[in-house]
């Protein structure tokens, strides 16, 4: 990423972020970091260094503090993603219920590894921490839709459905 690239928050982004800033004490603007990053990502699809810097400047906080938040949460994309993001859980419950096979099936079916995007820019496969769906492990979500009790066969069917949409 070019350090010199700058990103200006749009008027709409600022208005949305201000709503969140107003909820916290004036001295603690940084409390709105997650909300601000989400707002920017919603419009841009991902978060570049320049976008994170813009959020840091807007909330008057150190850039590193924004990077810390952005890198901590798997919901933030620090690289451009495909049209649909597949989040597959590999935490304890899912691991015990065989998520390794699910990951393997996803990788084979899409022809990419975890963390990569398909060449046609349709799918990004991401390994995430607990999706709070332990009761339905192994689980994944695609573009916000949950899929539980997965088997390699089910994965194939689900992917086919999404391919039709694309």
């Amino acid at each position: 990423m070019d350090m010199n690239t700058t990103f200006n928050l749009t008027h709409n982004m600022r208005t949305d972020i201000d709503v969140w800033v107003a909820k916290f004490p004036a001295e603690q603007k940084s409390s709105a970091t997650i909300a601000a990053l989400s707002i920017v990502q919603k419009e841009q699809g991902w978060l570049s260094d320049a976008m994170m810097n813009a959020v840091a400047d807007y909330l008057e906080m150190p850039k590193s503090a924004v990077y810390e938040v952005a890198t901590f949460y798997s919901m933030f994309n620090l690289k451009p993603t495909g049209k649909y993001r597949i989040d597959v859980c590999t935490n304890v419950s899912c691991m015990l219920c065989g998520c390794d096979k699910i990951v393997e099936q996803l990788e084979n079916r899409l022809g990419i590894n975890l963390g990569e995007t398909t060449q046609d820019q349709r799918f990004t496969l991401k390994e995430v921490e607990c999706l709070a769906a332990c009761g339905g492990a192994p689980a994944m979500q695609i573009a916000g839709h949950y899929y539980e009790h997965l088997t390699p066969e089910k994965v194939d069917i689900i992917i086919s459905e999404w391919e039709k949409k694309a």
Binding site: M3, P62, K63, S64, A65, E68, T71, F72, E129
Partner: protein, 759 residues
């Protein structure tokens, strides 16, 4: 105070202390990584787990406050098992290749592993590796070794005031990094090397040049600012390999500035003069000491004493100042000065015996209102800036009056940025602030930009007119000593009045001869062009210096190579008024000798009486008789004023030009040694980017951000122009003390800028 029991021993401690603090006070060793006495408690490494009676699980000693009657066991089975288990986890990802790690032998992880770990690990899978980032020329990273204690991150946030390194990602992917490639810029960054418990952050210049156990550790005093930080030089084969802080709570606590830490590199620069040398028939030749001193004595004797001027570095020692002024005055030359950067001497009679900060650093950390006038304190005296930052965290308010909108690592409550360099006017405005009236333990500190202003006397008088205390942030390591020892023209040692020419008069009047002690006038003197010309035209220049410059080889006739602070003993008085003795940490290099010996022999050759010192102690005894700081402790007032500041300005208003140069010595150009410390020169503070003005002024002058010709007096230099909108109107910001700006005139004087037109 309450009582607790540690390992069966009853001890009393302050309520609210953590177990680990009480244990440390009583020499009970609890292993730890993330805990550091000067940083906030993170409790993330879990190494300090101990057993507390009545609690089923082991507790982290760093985050468990003591309670009355608490029974702590640091070596019980529960505690030891917990510590062993944590150690095993910490070593899962840590490389076990201590022999190839720079930290080996002085590594907390290694030590704690020996003392509290197991000798085998159950883990036999792959270890993670982490990519390294270049965070600048001072700190080397090897992040695979990092155990995520976050001391460096907390140091940045809490002490340095710059959140640069952060905790990125999480879980197995967690790493300490800046994420986006950039360097760590804090003036205190080197302390991260010390607090890093493993070999993740190590000193770049020192790395792999010695092993900790081969080095001998010798205490001394850092000589770059009036803080006088206590340091240890680590020496092997008569060479300083690195410098680390020595804990002195009232001065530098446990930190030192990067300048104090890395300046030792300059000791071994090729500019060091290792043999006495003289210029005969315009050719330099190395000679022995006897010949060089005789040559110098002859030269001096050939000139009427009243036509000799003497300039001393404000970082010289008391003994050097004392002998230098005694030699010159006995010879009949009363013209001596150490105020290389000053431009206004009109109130010198009002000065106290020696100018001081006038508060202790501990008091400064507690002050409710601190007004900084004309100071870029974080670059002038980084440790003082750290104390001011502490005051702000203590809800102290900082008011700033500056000619440039310098960035600080602490919160500034109010600031007045002067246009055209008119600090007096801005100070007048600031003094109307209600905070000044409300201040109970307020202090006004005058920094380099105020003390070196052509209107410094007026600024001082105005600052002294408030109920707040007044202190001076003097330049160099020993300005106080210089004043007390009589390295000023108007006072003998101990403050006895006399008269002589100050530096400005010496340069204006073109003396026939100049004697320099540790001064490189083309860099160190305010008006470097004028100084260079005066020296060049002099019949004789005797340089008693450690280093040579190109210009010095032109103007000097003799160079008497003297030792820098690391290779000599002496005394310096810091800004708090504490006289600190230090001893040499290595032998002198080559033929160089401590200046006190050189001055003594030179005086003998000149057949002056009263120079029969055998040892430095003899000199110190005589100094103590004449001007021991304890004997002459002042009233605590920095100015004995009987005029009101309004009258003062009415009397001697200095007309500042329309376009004024603001200069000042950058942090890594303060003195001869630090200018030659290569790693510091590679930092962002050490790199000269160009002359700075704001867009308005640039447009008015028809300048574009390219090369410009800069003219002061008769000297014109070409350099890059940087448009910087933090620069106020009417101001050209161009630091002094640099090769790129040497030869130009003084600060707050006229400067012309002109576009270089490419044909």
């Amino acid at each position: 105070m309450i009582e607790i029991e540690i390992n069966g021993k009853i001890v009393s401690a302050e309520q609210g202390s953590m177990i680990i603090e009480v244990a440390d006070q009583h020499d009970v060793r609890i292993p730890r990584f993330c805990y550091h006495k000067k940083l906030s408690v993170a409790a993330n490494c879990r190494m300090c787990l101990v057993e507390v009676d009545g609690v089923r699980k082991p507790l982290p000693a760093c985050a468990t406050p003591i309670t009355q009657g608490m029974k702590v066991f640091t070596r019980s089975k529960l505690a030891l098992d917990a510590q062993r288990a944590v150690m095993e986890f910490l070593l899962i990802n840590h490389p076990l290749d201590c022999p190839v790690c720079d930290q080996g032998g002085e590594c907390e992880l290694q030590d704690v592993s020996m003392g509290y770990g197991r000798d085998i690990s159950k883990y036999n899978l792959g270890k993670r590796a982490v990519k390294d980032h270049d965070i600048g020329p001072l700190i080397e990273t090897e992040m695979t070794r990092c155990i995520h204690c976050t001391r460096c991150v907390r140091f940045g946030k809490e002490v340095a005031g710059l959140h640069e390194l952060g905790v990125m990602n999480r879980g197995e992917h967690l790493e300490i990094s800046t994420l986006v490639a950039r360097t760590v810029t804090s003036e205190l960054s080197g302390n991260m090397i010390d607090i890093c418990p493993v070999g993740a952050l190590t000193s770049k210049p020192y790395r792999f040049t010695a092993r900790a156990w081969e080095l001998s550790q010798r205490p001394t005093i850092a000589a770059h600012d009036a803080v006088g930080s206590h340091i240890y030089a680590h020496v092997i084969h008569n060479e300083v390999k690195r410098v680390v802080p020595k804990d002195v709570e009232a001065i530098n606590e446990t930190w030192i500035s990067d300048r104090d830490r890395f300046s030792y590199e300059g000791l071994y620069h090729s500019d060091r003069v290792l043999h006495p040398k003289i210029k005969r028939n315009n050719k330099w030749e190395n000679v022995d000491w006897q010949s060089a001193l005789e040559f110098a004595a002859e030269k001096l004797q050939a000139i009427k004493p009243d036509a000799i001027g003497t300039l001393a570095s404000p970082s010289a020692t008391n003994e050097e100042f004392y002998l230098l002024q005694k030699l010159m005055r006995t010879l009949g030359s009363p013209h001596i000065d150490h105020r290389l950067q000053e431009q206004d001497f009109s109130d010198q009679a009002d000065f106290p015996l020696y100018p001081l900060m006038n508060v202790t650093l501990d008091e400064l950390s507690q002050a409710d209102v601190i007004m900084l006038v004309g100071s870029q304190i974080n670059k002038e005296q980084p440790i003082v800036a750290h104390r001011i930052r502490k005051a702000t965290l203590n809800s102290g308010q900082v008011l700033v009056v500056n000619p440039i909108d310098y960035k600080f690592n602490f919160k500034v409550a109010r600031k007045e940025i002067a246009t055209h360099g008119d600090i007096f006017k801005s100070l007048e405005k600031m003094l109307k602030s209600d905070l000044v009236k409300k201040a109970k333990q307020g202090i006004i500190l005058l920094g380099a930009q105020a003390l070196h202003h052509p209107e410094a006397a007026n600024i001082r008088a105005l600052a002294a007119s408030t109920p707040m205390k007044l202190g001076f942030l003097t330049s160099g390591a020993n300005s106080a000593g210089a004043w007390l020892m009589g390295a000023v023209p108007h006072r003998l040692p101990g403050g006895v009045e006399t008269s002589g020419k100050n530096i400005q008069q010496m340069l204006n009047d073109h003396m026939k001869a100049y004697v320099l002690l540790g001064v490189e006038p083309e860099y160190d003197v305010q008006d470097s062009g004028k100084a260079y010309n005066a020296l060049k035209q002099a019949e004789c220049v005797i340089a008693i210096n450690s280093f040579q410059t190109h210009a010095m080889l032109e103007y000097a006739d003799v160079i008497l190579p003297v030792t820098p602070h690391a290779e000599m003993s002496g005394t310096m008085i810091n800004g708090q008024g504490i006289a600190q003795k230090f001893s040499a940490v290595t032998e002198p290099q080559g033929e160089s000798r401590p200046a006190w010996k050189v001055l003594r022999v030179l005086a003998n050759l000149l057949e002056l009486k009263g120079f029969d010192y055998q040892t430095l102690e003899d000199v110190q005894k005589e100094v103590a008789q004449n001007c021991h700081p304890a004997l002459v402790a002042g009233s605590g007032k920095m100015l004995n004023l009987n005029r009101t500041p309004q009258q003062v300005r009415g009397d001697s208003f200095v007309q500042l030009p329309k376009l004024v140069r603001i200069a000042g010595l950058p942090i890594y150009a303060q003195d001869a040694l630090v200018r030659r410390a290569e790693s510091l020169q590679k930092t962002s503070d050490g790199i000269f980017t160009g002359v700075r003005i704001n867009a308005n002024e640039a447009a008015r002058l028809g300048l574009k951000a390219e090369q410009v010709r800069v003219t002061q007096n008769d000297v014109t230099l070409t350099m890059p122009l940087v448009i910087d909108d933090t620069i106020p109107d009417g101001v050209v910001y161009l630091p002094s003390g640099l090769r790129e700006t040497a030869g130009l005139g003084a600060a707050y004087q006229v400067i012309q800028l002109e576009q270089v037109n490419h044909a």
